[in-house]
């Protein structure tokens, strides 16, 4: 699979902070690449340098194997997290305005269908919901039929239904062979949409791979949750790691059956028990030492 974007030793500093400290990664064509990290990790700075909004202090960025030229902006689509729409224009007028800024243009009917805008075309931008606005912003990012699309936290602030709606559109974009670079705070979103993930913290990439690779490489296993904290003597010498997680018991185990047998042997009430696999969020907390903050 050919590489569409390659970032080598990227460095970007601001007067009081070095936001990106020698970041390197490459993105194969046609995949969804997730860049994850808490606020201040440097992921937005990294993306904005790639998008040519900021200049880098050092490092190299290659698009299709060459430094980005004037055609880069013609060939990529960008959706920012916080963009207001022009006032007093309808959805269709906004889409056409941005589409006309490009030499290469996507088919307007195809755009409308892909982003499910049929019902909104004549509606004033000021009268659409958050989810509808994100779909329009996504359509604007696709207005030039880009090969590479940057989506910066596209589902932040959306309700679960609108979020799933947008995931479906991202899947459609992927099916059309486009490469997607996604930044997100939602681990579930990254796990569902991304083929490869890079986790950033303090300006560096601390882990990279497919979601499964990351989980296998760093930790496998299962989490058992109990809605209570049993008496301390009942947990004395318990063979697996356990934590008091805000009044709940959390056990990290690689053997669910044996763990449950041990809990039953010790007479611990399992009526509030839930079991789930180790996921990206657990991995993220382990790697960065802090929760993802929206």
């Amino acid at each position: 699979m050919s590489i569409i974007l390659e970032v080598k030793n990227l460095v970007k500093s601001f007067p009081e902070v070095c936001a990106v400290k020698g970041v390197s990664f490459s993105i194969p064509r046609g995949i969804c690449f997730g860049l994850l990290g808490p606020n201040g990790a440097g992921k937005t700075t990294t993306i904005e340098v790639i998008e040519m909004i900021l200049n880098n202090d050092a490092g190299e960025i290659l698009y299709k194997g060459k430094p980005r030229g004037a055609s880069f902006r013609e060939e990529v689509g960008i959706q920012f997290q916080n963009t207001e729409l022009p006032q007093y224009l309808t959805v269709k007028e906004t889409l056409e305005t941005f589409r006309n800024l490009y030499g290469r243009r996507a088919d307007i009917d195809d755009l409308i269908e892909t982003c499910q805008l049929e019902e909104l075309l004549d509606r004033d931008n000021r009268k659409i919901s958050g989810g509808q606005k994100q779909r329009l912003l996504l359509a604007m990012a696709l207005a030039n039929d880009p090969e590479l699309v940057f989506l910066d936290e596209p589902t932040t602030g959306l309700d679960p239904q609108a979020r799933r709606h947008l995931w479906e559109i991202v899947r459609t974009i992927k099916r059309k062979g486009k490469t997607v670079v996604l930044t997100t705070h939602y681990m579930e979103e990254a796990q569902i949409l991304c083929d490869r993930i890079a986790i950033m913290d303090y300006g560096e990439i601390i882990a990279e791979g497919t979601p499964q690779e990351l989980l296998n490489r760093h930790r496998s296993g299962t989490r058992i949750h109990l809605g209570i904290i049993p008496e301390k003597e009942k947990l004395e010498g318990f063979p697996w790691q356990w934590f008091d997680n805000d009044g709940f018991l959390e056990i990290h185990t690689d053997s669910v059956n044996h763990s449950i047998e041990e809990l039953m042997r010790r007479g611990i009430d399992l009526s509030s028990m839930t079991i789930r696999s180790h996921n990206l969020e657990d991995l993220f907390i382990e790697l960065t030492g802090h929760q993802l903050r929206a």
């Binding site: 909004i53 990529v76 920012f80 022009p86 007093y88 224009l89 305005t97 941005f98 006309n100 800024l101």
Partner: protein, 356 residues
């Protein structure tokens, strides 16, 4: 390139026209002002009047005083002395009656008195001239009035025709500066400019579209207001309409460029609003929108020449009131062109897509 500029031009026009409050205000505001002044004919309530007095240079003393011993008409001098005791009247001396009459015809003074001939002149249509005349006559001695009333020869400029270019110019100034300055700052603040910056759109294409759109709207609304007022008040333009349109267009371009310069970097509407107010208020008072600067300190007159509004209003008044042609307006055209170039060059160099 053309397609991008055209697209933004159309989008901006749609925004402006659909923003009914702003659009309506741009049309209604000058109508209301002119209508208000129309209703005030003959009922002027202003308190400051300017009286011109013709004295030969030998009769002048330093400043604006009058050497009474040299005047030929003692009775007239008595009346002038009494008239000068009237508060809120400013006295301006003129060495030449011809120049003074021209100044009166342009409403830069409200009454002209020549003590050596015992005559005074007023504009029949000037509400301020009417009051000034009443004040002069009221200052007469027991021996009866010492002056004979004269009306200026030829077609005098009705007061409202003198005022009208000022009102139109002021409206254009607000529309150009706030309409462009505020919109660009708002676009930058809410991220619309940032979004545009990642398309192939170049800064000069964006700025050109903003200028063309605002020029189109400015000249369109000005034409509507001009035609409307001309129909209501029966205005008469002595010069060419094309010349007047050219001066309006050049003045509008200059002020739009100034708006783009103000908005070239800021992302704070409050800050931009403060700067725009700082620019518009002195322009409104020193560019002879409402009153003439005749008799003002020379440094005030010099400052007023730095404003594009001064050159636009003066140029349009010369076309409308005096029938001036392009060659008579060279000075204003050069000044407005130079300012436009300066503002555009600085605005383009300083322009930033994003907030700092």
């Amino acid at each position: 390139m053309i397609k991008r500029i055209w697209t933004l031009f159309v989008a901006r026009n749609r925004e402006f026209i659909r923003d009914r409050s702003a659009f309506g205000w741009n049309i209604a505001f000058p109508f209301l002002i002119v209508l208000g002044f129309g209703l005030m004919f003959g009922q002027d309530r202003q308190v400051l009047y300017k009286a011109g007095i013709v004295y030969a240079p030998a009769q002048q003393v330093r400043g604006r005083g009058v050497d009474n011993s040299l005047t030929k008409e003692p009775l007239a001098e008595q009346q002038i002395d009494a008239f000068k005791k009237t508060r809120y009247v400013e006295y301006i001396t003129f060495p030449s009656q011809e120049h003074a009459l021209k100044t009166l015809a342009h409403h830069r003074i409200d009454i002209l008195i020549n003590p050596s001939t015992g005559r005074y002149w007023v504009n029949a249509t000037s509400p301020k001239g009417y009051i000034a005349e009443r004040l002069l006559l009221a200052a007469g001695t027991d021996s009866g009035p010492a002056f004979i009333r004269q009306t200026i020869t030829g077609r005098e400029t009705p007061y409202i025709e003198w005022l009208f270019p000022g009102i139109l110019g002021m409206n254009m100034m607000f529309s150009a500066l706030f309409g462009v300055g505020y919109v660009v700052v708002r676009y930058r603040k809410n991220g619309v400019l940032k979004r545009m910056s990642v398309t192939p759109l170049r800064p000069w294409e964006f700025l050109t579209a903003q200028i063309i759109s605002r020029m189109f709207l400015l000249l369109g609304t000005t034409a509507v207001v001009y035609i409307g007022c001309a129909m209501i008040f029966g205005f008469h333009c002595k010069g060419s309409y094309l010349t007047m349109l050219f001066i309006f267009a050049l003045g509008g371009f200059s002020m739009i460029s100034l708006g783009l310069l103000v908005s070239s970097r800021s992302s704070s509407e409050e800050f931009a609003g403060g700067i725009l107010n700082l620019i518009t208020w002195p322009m409104m008072f020193l560019s002879e929108v409402w009153f003439s600067l005749e008799g003002a300190n020379p440094w005030v007159k010099k400052i007023s020449l730095a404003f594009p509004l001064t050159h636009m209003i003066d140029g349009v008044r010369k076309v409308m009131n005096d029938g001036a042609g392009m060659s008579d307006l060279k000075y204003h055209i050069i000044a407005l062109s130079a300012m436009s170039l300066l503002f555009m060059a600085a605005g383009s160099m300083l322009f930033k897509w994003q907030r700092e």
